[in-house]
């Protein structure tokens, strides 16, 4: 048996350890939470960047769909009741934007589930990392990616002749609304990740998100729909976001539209993120 000598250098290490503790102690809880959230956000952005293959379909597919619909629906826009547009492309911008960010919106949940599955979450938990940054860090990555996608999609539409009547400010609102929607969906994904700890379970919600876009005013105005489909579309929160955003593009700046475009996804985000926090607290206090 090796008999190990005991701590000759333990004392010399004292000051360094102390400074670490002082650093941690001096930072207010809020500041530390901010620093931790930023660090974890950076990590999730890096992960997204290194899985770029996952991001590309979310940009290409909505653009492809927009191109096909614009080509096919040249006469649809002439229907009485259809908003006045030069091209279907102008009409479909909010839909493409929402569709693009919805790809990977559940990412904040699947990535969290991946961390739980492979045990990285436990490593974070065994560190002095607070609980909220654990969730916000993953959402942060999704937010950065959604912002980049939003800017890119809008830029491409502008390149192909779309005009945003509300101007640059409206374009910013567009991206902001899309980002808030990502937080809302991501929060829900995180609830599922915490409850199930399974990437598959979180991924299974994607078709639901995707379908809900098609069952909204995204590709067709609700006033031209009929029957149960119209009722579903009008009750669909995606419609509540897309309609004011579309008016900002087609009709121009309006504070009430800005309010609605941001308030709806904001309220849903607050609810789903709060649910994720509650789910996490419950899980941790019961485990």
């Amino acid at each position: 048996m090796t008999c190990l000598p005991t701590q000759p250098a333990a004392a010399s290490r004292g000051p360094k350890s102390e400074s670490t503790t002082v650093n941690a102690g001096a930072a207010t809880g809020l500041r530390l939470a901010g620093v931790q959230t930023l660090a974890l956000t950076r990590r999730s952005v890096v992960s997204e960047w290194r899985q770029l293959g996952n991001v590309i379909p979310g940009i290409v597919f909505p653009l492809l769909l927009a191109a096909v619909y614009t080509h096919q629906f040249t006469r649809v826009i002439l229907l009485p009741g259809f908003p006045v547009v030069d091209s279907f492309l102008d009409f479909v911008l909010p839909a493409s934007l929402v569709q693009s960010v919805s790809f990977g919106a559940t990412e904040a949940g699947t990535e969290l589930a991946r961390d739980i599955e492979n045990g990285f979450f436990d490593r974070l938990r065994a560190s002095p990392c607070m609980r909220l940054p654990l969730l916000l860090g993953r959402l942060g990555g999704a937010v950065v990616v959604a912002t980049a996608k939003g800017v890119l999609i809008i830029a491409i539409f502008l390149l192909f002749g779309t005009k945003i009547a509300g101007g640059l400010a409206a374009a910013v609102v567009l991206v902001a609304a899309a980002v808030l929607l990502v937080i809302a969906i991501g929060g829900l994904g995180q609830v599922l990740a915490i409850l199930t700890g399974s990437q598959e379970a979180v991924n299974a919600t994607f078709p639901l998100v995707f379908t809900s876009i098609f069952m909204s005013s995204a590709f067709f105005p609700t006033n031209l729909m009929s029957g149960w489909f119209r009722e579903v579309a009008e009750a669909n929160p995606v419609t509540w976001i897309i309609d004011p955003v579309r008016r900002l593009i087609l009709e121009g700046w309006s504070w009430s539209d800005v309010g609605q475009a941001l308030a709806v996804p904001l309220v849903i985000s607050v609810v789903t993120v709060a649910m994720a926090v509650i789910a996490l607290n419950r899980k941790l206090s019961s485990s």
Partner: protein, 324 residues
């Protein structure tokens, strides 16, 4: 260092558990464990798979809530002061829980920031630690490209970024090749001897416990069945076996001399074996006595009891995964 069990309630006890218990539904994973690990000790927690080692570590590292009993790390209750505990401990869990998409450097920085270490300091400390565990060359590579041994070493480096005074290693060398295992042991020894880090390591490898730990607790079915220094534990199993080969003409006289030193034990033909009372220290005495009796010895060997004998004595079974 080893066997310092007398100070259970002194200030120097840094890992302390009292009646620690954890159940999962009907299953009792850990059943009322008492532990006291003193500062600067390397404490081995030895047991087969499913004995309750990881469950105990998870409770001690604040990851799992005990269903009974208490545990304190350097005076902080693991439940009431979990964040204080997390600041002073380093944890390397089983199944190297490392994000494969990140590089070694990035993970070191992340871990440092989570511990409230400034960015510039985390950069220095990260590269210093990676170099120390032999990963300087691989620091910029994604973890996905690391071998099992490299991941374990990174895992260790990550757990050390905030210079913890207490380090928990859960099955640190599980699945490692012999060379990587020895390198890991060297690093653990160095941490303990140079920095005075208290190390709590779980293992199912007898050799690892024997090599590293100053004191060992053996856990089986959620209960501690033995505790002490490896030497003390082995000595409780009984005396070592002394085997002596002699020319057949001397066999009777050799036997006559040897039974004066301990009870005779079964041996193959032409050989005489006893359980040597008083242990290895009496070998010289035996040789002298044989010489005085005119017995010429052609071969002599002493087999010390192993930790596996200790485990077998305590549980009636041999330890799974035993290598020695």
């Amino acid at each position: 260092m080893g066997g310092n069990t007398g100070s259970r309630f002194s200030d120097d006890v840094v890992i302390e558990a009292s009646g620690l218990k954890r159940t999962f539904g009907e299953v009792v994973a850990v059943e009322g464990i008492d532990l006291a690990v003193t500062r600067g000790e390397v404490f081995g927690f030895l047991g087969p798979n499913g004995a309750g080692k990881s469950t105990t570590v998870r409770m001690l590292t604040t990851l799992l809530r005990p269903t009974g009993g208490t545990a304190r790390i350097d005076g902080h209750d693991v439940q009431k002061s979990a964040s204080a505990v997390r600041r002073i401990i380093g944890v390397a869990l089983q199944d190297a829980s490392i994000d494969p998409l990140m590089t070694g450097t990035e993970l070191m920085r992340l871990q440092a920031v989570l511990h409230g270490i400034s960015r510039s300091e985390s950069r220095n400390r990260g590269s210093e630690l990676l170099a120390r565990v032999g990963l300087a060359g691989a620091a910029g590579r994604r973890v996905a490209t690391y071998s099992g041994g490299m991941r374990r070493r990174l895992d260790l480096a990550l757990s050390l970024v905030h210079e913890p005074s207490i380090l928990f290693l859960d099955e640190p060398s599980a699945g490692l090749d012999p060379t990587s295992r020895v390198a890991l042991w060297e690093e653990v020894r160095r941490l303990n001897s140079e920095l005075g880090t208290t190390v709590f390591l779980t293992t199912q490898y007898l050799e690892e416990a024997d090599e590293l730990a100053g004191r060992i607790a053996i856990i089986d079915h959620g209960r501690l069945v033995r505790e002490g220094s490896p030497a003390d534990l082995k000595s409780t199993v009984g005396s070592p076996t002394l085997r002596v080969d002699v020319d057949p003409v001397f066999l009777e006289s050799a036997r006559h001399v040897l039974i004066g030193f301990g009870p005779e034990r079964p041996a193959r033909e032409g050989r005489c074996a006893i359980g040597l009372d008083g242990g290895a220290g009496r070998v010289a005495e035996v040789v002298r006595a044989l010489d005085d009796a005119g017995v010429t010895v052609s071969h002599l060997e002493l087999d010390l009891p192993s930790l596996d004998d200790v485990f077998a004595d305590a549980t009636g079974r041999r330890l799974e995964g035993a290598e020695k």
